[in-house]
Symmetry: C2
Amino acid sequence: MAKIVITSGPTRQYLDPVRYLTNASSGQMGAALAAVGLRLGHDVTIISGPVQVEYPSKATVVSVMTTQEMLEATAEHFKLSTGLIGVAAPCDYMPKVIQRQKIAKVGGTLRLELIETPDIVATIAATKREDQWVVGFALETEDHRHRAIAKMQRKRCNLMISNSASAINSSQTDLEILNADSFLIEHVVGTKQHAAIRIWDAITNYCGVGCRRPS
Amino acid sequence: MAKIVITSGPTRQYLDPVRYLTNASSGQMGAALAAVGLRLGHDVTIISGPVQVEYPSKATVVSVMTTQEMLEATAEHFKLSTGLIGVAAPCDYMPKVIQRQKIAKVGGTLRLELIETPDIVATIAATKREDQWVVGFALETEDHRHRAIAKMQRKRCNLMISNSASAINSSQTDLEILNADSFLIEHVVGTKQHAAIRIWDAITNYCGVGCRRPS
C-alpha cells in the first residue's frame, strides 16, 4: 500500500467575478484511476477542480479552483506520497490582471493579456525523490506522440500518457502509454475504466510500486 | 396556454479545440422557470448551453454551445412564441480568431483579442411584435438596479430581473423584478423555485399572458 496523489478535472482562471477560462475536463479519467488505485490497496488523495463526476467514496478529495491552488495542494500531499498521477487538465493561461468587478461591454474589442500558470506536473517532478514517481498526461491536437515525449523529458516524468481532445468529457478514450525511455508501452482504446487498469499496470511495471494487479 | 421560449445556462466560446471562455451558470433558474411555466399550462422550449441540471421532462430542450448558436435557435423558436425569458448567461465575449489547433505554451504572454458576441435578448426584443413579450435578466456586480434599468431600456424588455453574481450556481437567489417603467415590482429572496413563481406572477400581470396562478 502506497500513498498516491491524483490531480483531476479542470481548473478555472477568472477574468472578473463572472467570466473564466477553462476546458471541458470531466474528472472521469481521474475517478477511474482513483478506483483502480483503491482496488490495488493504495491510499488515494484526489486534488480536483470543479467537476460533477462522482469520485470513489474511499478516496480523499481536496477541492480547488485555480491552477495555483491545485499546485499548492498537490505539493503539500506529494511530500508524504509515493506517486503522483497528473491527469487534471489545469487551465494553463490566466489573465495578467483579474478585474474585481464584472467587465462592462463597451461595444469594442477587449484586449486580454494572458500569462502562463505554473506547470503542476513539471514543478512537482522537479522535487521528486528517488523513491517517488510522477505520471503525466499530454493532451495534444496534432503531432501527439512527439510532443508527449518532449513533454515527458522536459517535465522529468516516469511515464507519460498521450491522449487527444476527443477524450475530453467522454466515457471512452484512445491513449498511448510511453515510458521514460520514450518507448511506446501500449496503445489503449476503450473505456476510461479499462484504460485506468492498463495505466496502473504500467505504473506497477515501470515505477516500482509493489502493487497487486486489480482483481 | 402560450408558447414560451426560455434561454438557460452558460454558453462557451472556444479559443482553440480545448480552451474556452464561459461562466458558472448552472441552468437552475431556467429549470425552475420552465417548471412553473409548464404548471401554468404553457408549451415551454428551453434553449440551453452545456449544463448538468435536469430540465422538466415535459419541456422541449434544444442544446447549443456558443452564443451565436443560442441566438439562432432562440430566434427560430421565438417567431412562433408569445414570450421569451432570457435567463441564460451567454458568454458575451469571443476570441476574434479561433485557433484550429491547441495553442502551444511558449513561455510568454498570450495576447488575446476578444470581440463581443451578439446580445440575444436585445436582438430578439428588437424583432418582437405587439403580442409578444421579452423578459431579460441583468447580472451585475455593482450598481445593480441602475444598470438593470439601463439594460431594460436599451434592450426594449417588458420586464427586467436584476440579480447578482452570488446567484450563479446556487440554489438560492436574491433578485429584483423591474417593470418597463423602471419601477421595482418586487424584491425576491429565497429559492429559485420561489423566485420563478414570483417572476411568472409579474409576467402574468405586466406582459398580458392570460395564465392561471401556479397551483
